[in-house]
């Protein structure tokens, strides 16, 4: 008999070692666990294609077999349409507008912690658990849920979770937050989980082989890749590009500019179909404006505040002063200029290991 306080939880199982271990840990801990695997995407089944990571039929099968191994029910939840509309489309449109998107954050926001969470609720679960390396804690003084980095700083995935609301956090569990990746693999091996040695997925789950160009071409046709000019900030033409969507801010390779100093992409001008390039010094930004902001540690940013801002997943972070801007946006003044502040990426604000909140970078200044 499962003790009443633990109750029923659903675990989002991707077929990977993290979520599999999370499910096993919860089960051993006395929860009544149900495994759910999202069916998000139909991989193209050409013989030569490398199957994209995540949610391929093999992954669904792996998740099901782990569920069998642990002894929990397992269901596949069809979220293909929502994923296509909310994540894939968002991704494509962002690139077409010259931004560099982060679809994983979007997937967490719209798919996992909304639609999948609702599904879990419909199944009578009091929470949805995932294998994210992050921690949710209830701060008794503030009477708010706070989000913290995972204990394993190298694996920490809190960056991808900045959109979480209080309501969601009350119903989500991160069983791996206090563990290191090494510990998790150990646990998986000890539990004899068949996926213990499975390779990590690194790419975007719906783009096989990391081949963004081919993906965009297939969706939008070759015409979107129109060659154009590469110019410097003064408008002088430095060279030509093969199509804006092959470039991202901070990129150095592929510019083909013959010059004494290396050049980097500073910005993408979709109106003029130009890549604006410049020297490394020009790539530095003193600050940024972020929109679509979500605050976790407090309901709203009331005044200026010091915070550590991460502008990319693998960015070490930079000290800044954040202040409320117009329309709920955030002004971020960097104490030390940072390289390649990229519109479309997320700016996530930390104090210590606590995630204050975050937003989407609109522009650098």
């Amino acid at each position: 008999m499962v003790p009443k306080e633990k109750g029923r939880v659903a675990v989002a199982m991707s077929g990977g070692v993290d979520s599999s271990t999370a499910a096993a840990l919860l089960k051993n801990d006395g929860y009544e666990v149900i495994g759910l695997t999202m069916h998000l995407w139909d991989q193209k089944l050409d013989d030569q294609e490398d199957m994209g990571r995540c949610c391929s039929p093999e992954d669904i099968r792996d998740a099901r077999r782990v569920a069998d191994q642990i002894g929990i029910p397992h269901y596949v939840v069809n979220l293909r349409q929502a994923f296509e509309e909310e994540v894939v489309n968002y991704f494509v449109e962002a690139y077409l507008s010259g931004r560099t998107p982060n679809p994983c954050i979007r997937c967490n926001d719209r798919i996992k912690f909304w639609r999948l969470l609702r599904k879990a609720e419909e199944l009578g679960a009091r929470a949805l658990a995932t294998g994210h390396y992050a921690r949710i804690e209830l701060d008794p003084l503030k009477e708010r849920y706070v989000l913290r980095r995972g204990v394993d700083r190298n694996k920490d995935q809190s960056y991808f979770l900045f959109t979480m609301t209080q309501d969601q956090m009350a119903r989500v569990l991160f069983p791996l937050g206090e563990k290191s990746k090494a510990e998790v693999r150990q646990q998986a091996l000890k539990l004899g989980l068949r996926v213990a040695r499975k390779r990590e997925s690194q790419e975007i789950c719906f783009i096989p082989d990391d081949n963004y160009r081919r993906f965009m071409e297939e969706r939008k046709g070759k015409e979107i890749f129109r060659p154009g000019e590469i110019v410097n900030r003064q408008g002088k033409v430095l060279g030509f590009h093969r199509g804006l969507h092959s470039y991202t801010v901070g990129q150095r390779r592929g510019l083909g500019i013959a010059a004494p100093h290396p050049h980097y992409v500073l910005a993408l001008d979709t109106c003029k179909n130009q890549v604006v390039a410049g020297r490394k010094e020009e790539l530095m930004a003193n600050g940024l404006i972020a929109g679509g902001v979500n605050w976790i540690s407090f309901p709203k940013l009331e005044g200026k505040m010091e915070a550590w801002v991460q502008i990319r997943y693998r960015h070490p972070g930079a000290l800044a002063v954040i202040s409320p801007g117009d329309d709920g946006k955030v002004m971020v003044d960097l104490k030390i200029p940072q390289k390649a502040v990229t519109p479309g990426q997320a700016a996530v604000f930390y104090q210590g290991d606590e995630v204050l909140g975050g937003g989407w970078i609109e522009k650098a200044f």
């Binding site: 029910p73 293909r80 609720e121 419909e122």
Partner: protein, 393 residues
């Protein structure tokens, strides 16, 4: 936890008498029916007997019954077999929009290679317009393939009338009877049917065996070539144990027909009544009376059928929505959509299909569990809240 299985239109357990009848043929009497020695001869007798039993269930002659690998194969054989055999005469086929995928996808395949197919629409009960069928027949029409009863709703088609229309115009009529055999009386001496397909595992025999009735004189190209088995219609060493099983199942179905029918109808109707009494906003999908005795397809409005299904599963109750073959993705059923049922209502449909071993206690259990789940899901359903709030103002 109690387990209740109410998904017999998806598959059935093998009846104990069927299993017992099959056992000797795996190791003791294992011969190849085509062999001339004692091992072959001794099974040939049982093969003939099994054929007679299947024929008896359909009131047909044994020479008109052949065995296949499954119901889907029978459907494929009938449709492709007639299409290929008569391709000089014409290349038009008529079917309905609510057929099983074994029929629909076969027709779609034929379209890809140049055949024309008319997919007749259906009304709110799931029935075609017979006049429209008549009007669709042309000089090119070589086959009409229309199911006897629908697997999702249980709606029974007027096979007699359809057969007469086909006869009138000299068109071959195939009926996919996978769901009807054993549940409805079928008399092929009276019914103007040319080909009839059936499936073993819907009839309490194992998966991997099917049969087909082919009226004498019907031209059909074989799908599976090889030896001369099954009167050259379907090659392959006869699957004796399974054929024996199907024969036994047919015998039981015929023997216990009336008893089963009464039992199933009573259980199904009680299930229906109890739901209507305890749960508001429930809709029947399918014909009110012209329906298989065991099938009940209901939409529980304002909630997701998938959630209801999974919750029922967690309580040990096995039912389905849509057809089992497509349940990998749980999309709304093409049958319900063809009947004009709105998307959200089709999404909230659940099919209960009862079987020979369902009991009153099974019905009691489901009646106790399901309303609670529906209420809980409605409590967290935005659709339900919108509906109740507009009603209350």
């Amino acid at each position: 936890m109690r387990r209740v299985y109410m998904d017999h239109n998806a598959t059935t357990p093998v009846h104990p008498e069927v299993l017992a009848a099959m056992m000797p043929f795996f190791q003791d009497q294992f011969g190849n029916a085509s062999s001339i020695h004692w091992a072959g001869r001794e099974v040939k007798k049982y093969l003939d007997e099994a054929r007679e039993k299947v024929a008896a269930l359909l009131n047909a002659s044994p020479e008109e019954v052949i065995f296949t690998g499954c119901g889907t194969e029978s459907d494929n054989m009938a449709i492709k077999g007639v299409a290929f055999a008569l391709r000089e005469r014409g290349q038009h086929i008529i079917t309905t929009q609510v057929e099983h995928h074994a029929v629909l996808h076969t027709c779609q395949f034929l379209e890809k290679i140049g055949y024309k197919v008319t997919y007749l629409p259906v009304d709110g009960d799931g029935l075609i317009d017979l006049e429209e069928l008549r009007r669709s027949i042309t000089d090119e029409t070589v086959l009409i393939t229309i199911m006897f009863a629908n697997n999702e709703t249980g709606t029974i088609f007027p096979v007699q009338e359809i057969g007469e229309i086909a006869r009138e115009r000299g068109v071959i009529f195939h009926t996919d009877s996978v769901q009807a055999v054993g549940k409805l009386p079928i008399d092929l001496q009276r019914l103007p049917v040319d080909i009839l397909s059936l499936s073993g595992h819907k009839l309490y025999s194992p998966k991997g065996i099917g049969a087909q009735y082919i009226r004498k004189g019907t031209k059909m190209t074989s799908l599976i070539h090889g030896g001369a088995q099954e009167r050259n219609r379907r090659a392959g060493t006869e699957n004796i144990p399974y054929i024996i099983g199907l024969g036994k199942a047919s015998e039981i179905a015929l023997r216990d027909f009336q008893k089963r029918r009464t039992h199933l109808t009573a259980l199904r109707d009680r299930l229906h009544q109890e739901f209507i009494q305890r749960i508001p906003h429930v809709q029947l999908n399918g014909h009110a009376t012209q329906r298989l005795p065991n099938t009940l397809n209901l939409s529980f409005l304002y909630i997701e059928g998938e959630s209801l299904l999974l919750n029922l599963d967690l309580e040990g109750i096995a039912v389905s929505s849509g057809s089992a073959c497509t349940s990998g993705s749980l999309e709304p059923s093409h049958v319900l959509l063809a009947m004009g049922i709105p998307h959200e209502i089709a999404q909230s449909a659940i099919r209960f299909s009862l079987g020979w071993n369902n009991t009153e206690e099974d019905v009691d259990y489901v009646v106790e569990v399901l309303p609670r789940i529906v209420q809980r899901l409605r409590d967290i359903s935005p659709l339900y809240h919108k509906m109740t709030s507009t009603v209350n103002t």
